[in-house]
């Protein structure tokens, strides 16, 4: 009763949103699927922005001594391209998949904290818009996505360019941390009965590892950004060499975050590939525990390799050797993953559809990125490669050929589950081949440009350098990639209305999300499933494979023979009456305005630090109102209870 009294005293001018359709139902949603969709759409929009930035850079570099853009604009373009693709594209695209799939694959009805989930999304969107708003003020960040001090300080970074970057990243960091805690709690606590850790799909494992990385790595960059901003605003001396500060300290902090960040970007894609390859080979993942532990090992070792980004800073031979060794060591678990993926398709019945092509493309391209990575794990060769196009080639093979191919594989694979319809296979394959050819034409020649001595982050190069012809081809490749994205968008538009309807389990897949209808009902599972095995859905469909497996394999004894009752698909166990019945006993959290208000208040608060103090005060009050309203608002409207 006391709680009800508090609720009624908190001023809430808005009636609680009720409708399930219309724009406000999306804005106030706390449903993980809708939030996942919004993450996906927003990230794709930012992908178009970041891609456009890349195309302008490629047009500039297609000619030697070109003056299409000024060096200042070019510096803004490469800074924002990197920042956008990392923080506003690959991370939120992964978040889109986490949102959609974590509850579905572990047999839950939503994430642990649905309103926090909405807050994460709105904070991400507001942070992304804030950092891009800098273009409107002609103050886009221009010191690189790595923002090396002391170029970002004092006399060398006048104006608000770097401030936009610092504050934008802080806001985005809050979004990532909130989401990370949410998914951690969800995966640990909301797994369906029987789903022990070693029965979790690999994608969920990789999601769990990524959340741990986020929770451990983001505080480091948060602290570093605060120190940088204090240096800029209050003349503290963390990184200012004139007052005894240490610019290299920024690099340590940045890469202590930045290297785990690389695995934050790639592990979700590795999880997707580990789901797609078995389904379209009609075989279980080869060496499941090895793939899982290799992922964990990569994440753990990822915290001990940061200084390989700093081999040229003069760390001294001992430290340089130590980081060379740890960097080489991380190639071992990465190799284990690749071998197990090949082991998975070996002996299978491979179906080369769009999803599978993108996954195989991932493996093929990631090998290239991994091998070039080994070459600059050796500091003497890295001394010639660091800050050249060789490095640009390397990490685009890992992050474009890797992360993005994996994410597109996930898009084609789970699209029927998300929307109930297939994307066109024909257009999907055109998309894949254009992107595969374009990607290689763009990034492979960059290897030899770098080996030939072309530095990165230069807006121009001389006509006598011998680099022009290669750059020309690279630009052609970049436009082929752009064309492939256009094909994907046509595919989306075409199939939105006219796509073939997919059933609940169109791929004859293995994991729990395929046991429920497509598109997924708002409550996900009518009845929370009982999980008995890894790939539980597959085992229930093909109980004979368990017996078969037991006689052939002695490695993993986790599969138990299924009882006849459990083999029935989940939906078949529930009568339609039960499904449609008025009171099926499923309570989902109600929609809420407060996460949105708190998130917008937060981003406004950050942005206002560059303007007048009273705007900051107003923004702070908005944020406080959002948080307080959220605290006092019950998960479900008390007037609406059964």
């Amino acid at each position: 009763m006391a709680q009800e009294a508090v609720i009624s005293t908190f001023p809430n001018p808005f009636p609680r949103p009720k409708s399930d359709t219309g724009i406000w139902s999306w804005i106030t949603t706390v449903d993980h699927k809708r939030i996942g969709t919004m993450y996906g759409i927003s990230a794709f929009m930012f992908f178009l922005v970041g891609g456009t930035e890349a195309l302008i850079m490629r047009l500039q570099l297609a000619r030697a001594d070109s003056d299409l853009v000024s060096p200042e604009v070019y510096n803004q373009l490469f800074t924002m391209h990197g920042t956008t693709m990392i923080f506003l594209v690959v991370m939120p695209l992964s978040a889109a998949f986490f949102n959609w799939l974590v509850p579905l694959m572990i047999g839950a009805r939503d994430v642990a904290f649905p309103r926090l989930n909405a807050f994460s999304y709105w904070t991400f969107l507001a942070g992304g818009l804030l950092i891009n708003l800098s273009f409107a003020f002609n103050s886009a960040p221009n010191a690189g996505w790595f923002g090396y001090a002391n170029l970002t300080e004092g006399a060398y970074a006048l104006g608000n360019n770097t401030t936009f970057w610092v504050i934008g990243l802080q806001v985005l960091g809050i979004a990532s941390l909130a989401a990370a805690f949410n998914f951690l709690v969800t995966i640990i606590n909301l797994r369906a009965p029987g789903m022990s850790f070693m029965k979790m799909p690999v994608f969920i494992w990789m999601a769990l590892i990524v959340q741990i990385l986020l929770v451990l790595a983001f505080p480091v960059i948060t602290v570093a950004l605060i120190e940088l901003q204090f240096d800029r605003l209050y003349l503290t001396n963390f990184f200012n060499p004139d007052a005894g500060g240490e610019p290299v300290y920024w690099q340590h902090m940045f890469w202590l975050f930045g290297h785990p960040e690389v695995y934050i970007l790639i592990l979700p894609a590795m999880g997707i590939v580990s789901e797609v390859l078995p389904v379209f080979s009609r075989k279980p993942l080869f060496g499941y525990p090895f793939v899982v532990f290799a992922g964990a090992a990569i994440a753990f070792m990822g915290f001990f390799v940061w200084s390989h980004h700093m081999f040229t800073t003069g760390l001294g031979p001992a430290a340089t050797s130590a980081f060379a060794l740890s960097t080489m060591a991380i190639a071992v678990p990465t190799g284990i993953k690749i071998f197990n993926w090949i082991g998975t398709i070996w002996g299978g019945q491979i179906k080369l559809n769009s999803a599978m092509l993108f996954s195989i493309g991932f493996v093929a391209l990631f090998i290239v990125g991994g091998l070039s990575g080994v070459s600059h794990a050796s500091p003497p060769t890295d001394a010639q490669q660091q800050d050249t196009y060789y490095i640009v080639a390397h990490f685009h093979y890992v992050l474009f050929g890797g992360s993005l191919f994996g994410l597109f594989s996930g898009v084609y694979y789970w699209w029927p589950k998300f929307t109930g319809k297939f994307l066109s296979e024909k257009l999907g394959k055109i998309h894949f081949w254009l992107m595969f050819v374009g990607m290689n034409l763009t990034f492979f020649p960059m290897h030899w440009l770098g080996l030939d001595g072309m530095p990165r982050r230069i807006f121009t190069y001389g006509g006598d350098s011998g680099w022009e012809r290669t750059n020309e081809w690279i630009t052609v490749g970049a436009f082929i990639i752009a064309l492939s994205i256009l094909v994907f968008m046509i595919n989306y538009v075409k199939t939105w209305r006219a796509g073939t309807v997919a059933g609940a389990d169109p791929w004859d897949a293995r994991t729990l999300e395929w046991s429920i209808p497509s598109p997924v009902p708002v409550y996900n599972f009518v009845k929370i499933p009982q999980v008995d095995a890894l790939d539980d859905w597959w085992v229930k469909k093909y109980p004979e494979t368990v017996l078969h497996q037991e006689s052939h394999d002695t490695d993993s004894g986790q599969l138990a023979p299924a009882g006849a009752e459990d083999v029935l698909p989940m939906q078949a166990r529930v009568s339609p009456e039960e499904l449609l019945g008025e009171d099926h006993g499923i309570h989902l959290p109600d929609k809420s305005y407060y996460p949105l208000i708190a998130a917008l208040g937060l981003a406004f608060f950050g942005g206002s630090l560059m303007s007048a103090w009273w705007l900051t005060l107003i923004a702070g009050l908005i944020m406080l109102y959002g948080v307080m309203g959220w605290i006092f608002e019950p998960v479900n409207d008390p007037e609406d209870h059964h």
């Binding site: 002391n150 080869f286 800073t313 003069g314 080489m328 491979i350 001394a383 394999d553």
Partner: protein, 533 residues
């Protein structure tokens, strides 16, 4: 049957890569097709058609590398190594590259093979064998990479420690030439400690001698990179980094800043000119001789005045005088501090030393050839040549309409700068002779402009780094009791911190001028200073 083939592959691949780096198509195809080893027993053993195809296969695999090597024009490619440091770095790269190519071929083949072999045709009646894993395989493909990486790690670490000692592997150089390289936004300064030589953007070194480059930065982080001589090492403010280089042959090697350092980063380049010990010594000697004085009344003479009035605050052009060369470091730091105090409005910033400028082949941080036309273009609109340069942002002539140069003045300035080349060795004593006897405020003016005073002091009342000296006579006489104006100013030049007045901080002025100037010169300078209105 397989072993000899594998052996041959292992032998051939590095040879191809080696040939490729020499950019010699004949050698490449010759090596790759096994011509060189035609009579070798390994070739006679490999009879099967598959093995005969192998060299062609290797050629196909290495095609990108061949292309790489052959598109280079040579002067900025690490593969055209011109010294032991770059050579060792190139060799370890080729070693890793060959291993990587072999791994690439094996793993991608396994991937492709399994896709082709196990692609489903039609609808399968029954499920494939549901293998879940194989522990022995897992151990195998964990150990194999460990062994390969160990093979890479051992030479890597040995090379890291070796290259820390000196340029030639395993040798500590007994008499390395020490050079300070200082990074500035956006140009390179080079000083030769002990030689009293300062220059910018063109580093002269003798061949076959270890050079220890001390890497310094006065502003942000830069990176010193001459691909043909050595991999890069960063120049970090507040840190003392070091890099060994050594050139095996005479030549000009391009360098470029490799760490993003702001707006004009792309145009921060330089050259290393390696020359014989004699040529190097001749260059050093030349840098210590003054240029010929321009004919009185000539455009160049007028240009000298233009330079003194508009450029000499930031650009030193007389460090052929050893005392000026020694004071240049302090002068640059003073200019940099002045800039940092008010970056938006400062009319002063550290700038390239222009002593004997006409000896250089290029200017504007090594991006454009030095000739009259280019120099005129540069002075008229520096942004047309190097966007983002500091000169156009800070210098009064570009920011204060009253200070802008007329086109005649620009021509005079160009004429003067193009004359900055040392006089013949036997002409020096005359040029350095003192006026003697009478006190000359005209000579004082020359000293003011050429000794480094004008770097920090204006002749008006505005503060550059040090106070403006206009109207000095009005205040000098009464500053310190019992000292005449002449004695007070003379004392302040010889011992700047002797009389600190008016709550001024400890003087930042170097105490080196007393040693640089003779008593007569000090008298001349004092007379000039006291004549300032």
């Amino acid at each position: 049957m397989l072993r000899p083939g594998l052996l041959q592959k292992a032998l051939t691949a590095p040879a191809v890569a080696e040939a490729a780096t020499k950019c010699d198509p004949q050698a490449i195809s010759g090596v790759a097709l096994g011509r060189r080893s035609r009579t070798s027993p390994t070739m006679r053993l490999s009879r099967s058609s598959l093995l005969r195809l192998r060299p062609a296969l290797i050629l196909a695999i290495l095609a990108p590398a061949l292309f790489t090597a052959c598109v280079v024009d040579g002067n900025q490619s690490p593969f055209n190594a011109a010294g032991p440091v770059a050579e060792d770095q190139k060799n370890i790269f080729i070693f890793i590259f060959v291993i990587a190519v072999v791994v690439f071929v094996l793993v991608e083949s396994a991937l492709l093979y399994s896709i082709v072999r196990f692609r489903q045709k039609g609808t399968a009646a029954k499920l494939p064998n549901q293998t879940h894993g194989n522990t022995r395989l897992e151990i195998g493909w964990t150990l194999a990479p460990v062994l390969i990486l160990a093979a890479i790690a051992i030479p890597t670490i040995s090379l890291i420690f070796d290259q820390d000692k000196g340029p030639v592997r395993g040798q500590v150089p007994d008499n390395p030439l020490a050079i300070d390289a200082i990074g500035h936004q956006w140009w390179f300064e080079f000083t030769y400690p002990g030689e009293d030589v300062v220059t910018a953007n063109e580093l002269h070194i003798p061949v076959d001698r270890a050079v220890e480059v001390n890497l310094i930065s006065d502003d942000v982080i830069h990176s010193f990179w001459v691909p043909q001589l050595a991999g890069k090492v960063d120049m970090i403010p507040g840190r003392a980094n070091r890099l060994f280089i050594q050139a095996d042959e005479a030549g000009t090697f391009l360098g470029q800043c490799a760490e993003f350092c702001g707006e004009a980063h792309a145009n921060m380049r330089f050259r290393v000119i390696a020359e014989s010990a004699d040529d190097y010594q001749a260059w050093l000697d030349g840098m210590r001789r003054p240029p010929a004085s321009p004919e009185p009344g000539s455009p160049a003479a007028a240009g000298q005045t233009v330079f003194a009035q508009n450029c000499s605050t930031c650009h030193t052009a007389n460090s052929y005088r050893p005392e000026v060369a020694r004071a240049e470091r302090d002068a640059q730091l003073g200019r940099q501090s002045a800039f940092k105090l008010d970056p938006e409005n400062s009319r002063i910033i550290s700038a390239p030393n222009l002593t004997n400028l006409a000896l250089r082949s290029h200017f504007a941080a090594g991006i454009i050839e030095l000739n009259e036309a280019n120099l005129r273009k540069w002075i008229n609109d520096p942004n047309d040549i190097k966007q983002g340069n500091r000169m156009s942002k800070q210098a009064a002539i570009y920011n204060d309409p009253a200070s802008a140069l007329s086109s005649e003045e620009v021509d005079q300035l160009v004429a003067y700068l193009m004359m900055l080349t040392p006089v013949a060795a036997d002409a020096v004593p005359e040029a350095m002779e003192e006026t003697g006897g009478e006190v000359s405020s005209e000579n004082g003016e020359q000293l003011f402009l050429n000794t480094g005073c004008s770097g920090c002091h204006s002749t008006g009342t505005n503060t550059i780094v040090g106070p403006g000296l206009g109207g000095l006579s009005d205040r000098a006489g009464s500053t310190v009791e019992s000292l005449s104006a002449e004695d007070y100013v003379a004392q302040s030049i010889v011992s700047p911190s002797a009389y600190i007045v008016g709550g001024a901080p400890v003087s930042a002025m170097p105490g080196t001028f007393g040693a640089q100037l003779s008593a007569g010169e000090i008298d001349d300078l004092v007379a000039y200073l006291l004549s300032l209105e």
